[in-house]
């Protein structure tokens, strides 16, 4: 079946521009995550959506970052006024949470380069 789909796969932008990254999770998965992976660093948690509950935004690095999830499915991560330090791979994951069923399915990511 189809996995987690992310678009675009690569995005080059100029400093100060806004960007939108899209994630289409696995059908039926109620949980959706955004992580950021910088070169040589571990994955950094950004935001978590679970069903209709309020999202956990505790990992967003600044108020330039925001995310929404429409209809419990597709999610968009928006970065406003991009900075060079925002350059990274942005990974989306989805899961179907349950007791001892916390396996995350990741997309291939969006490589963001801010010039």
């Amino acid at each position: 079946g189809a996995g987690v789909s992310q678009s675009p796969s690569n995005k080059v932008t100029e400093k100060g521009k806004d960007v939108e990254l899209r994630c289409d999770p696995i059908s039926g998965h109620t949980a959706l995550y955004w992580y950021r992976q910088s070169l040589g660093q571990g994955l950094e948690f950004l935001i978590y959506f679970q069903g209709n509950s309020a999202p956990d935004k505790s990992g967003l690095p600044s108020d330039r970052f925001s995310a929404e999830r429409t209809g419990g499915s597709v999610s968009t991560l928006t970065i406003q006024r991009t900075q060079q330090e925002d350059s990274a791979v942005y990974l989306c994951a989805s899961s179907s949470p349950g007791f001892r069923n916390e396996k995350l399915f990741f997309g291939s990511g969006t490589q963001l380069s801010v010039l």
């Binding site: 987690v4 949980a31 571990g42 001892r100 916390e102 990741f106 291939s108």
Partner: protein, 111 residues
């Protein structure tokens, strides 16, 4: 502060040369420890979850073990296709499915 540290950062093996990767963690009340494999240009792919000290899981040439302070990923007789970055993560004690990742071990297996 909850942390996950992986060693070594990089490992080069000859085909058939067995070795182990280490993941040490400091977290108050481990709820789950995860191993993922990541190939270049791809997202991480789930390998194992371990929940309690003494637990072991195996898949093909990989075996994951867990103690109270660390986990090992043992690779027996590796093949070139095992080359990848192996990521370790622990479940955030905050009560849901947020994972805290280590920086990974880059494994290269040469014929």
């Amino acid at each position: 502060e909850d942390q996950v540290t992986q060693s070594p950062e990089a490992l080069r093996l000859q085909e058939g040369e067995s070795s182990s990767l280490n993941c040490s963690y400091t977290v108050s009340g481990l709820r789950g420890l995860f191993w993922y494999r990541q190939d270049p240009g791809k997202g991480p792919e789930f390998l194992f979850t371990l929940y309690s000290a003494g637990e072991e899981k195996e898949k093909e040439r990989l075996k994951a073990t867990l103690t109270k302070k660390e986990s090992f990923l043992h690779i027996t007789a590796p093949k070139p296709e095992d080359s990848a970055t192996y990521l370790c993560a622990v479940q955030d004690p905050g009560g849901y499915n947020k994972l805290i990742f280590g920086a990974g071990t880059r494994l290269a297996v040469h014929p």
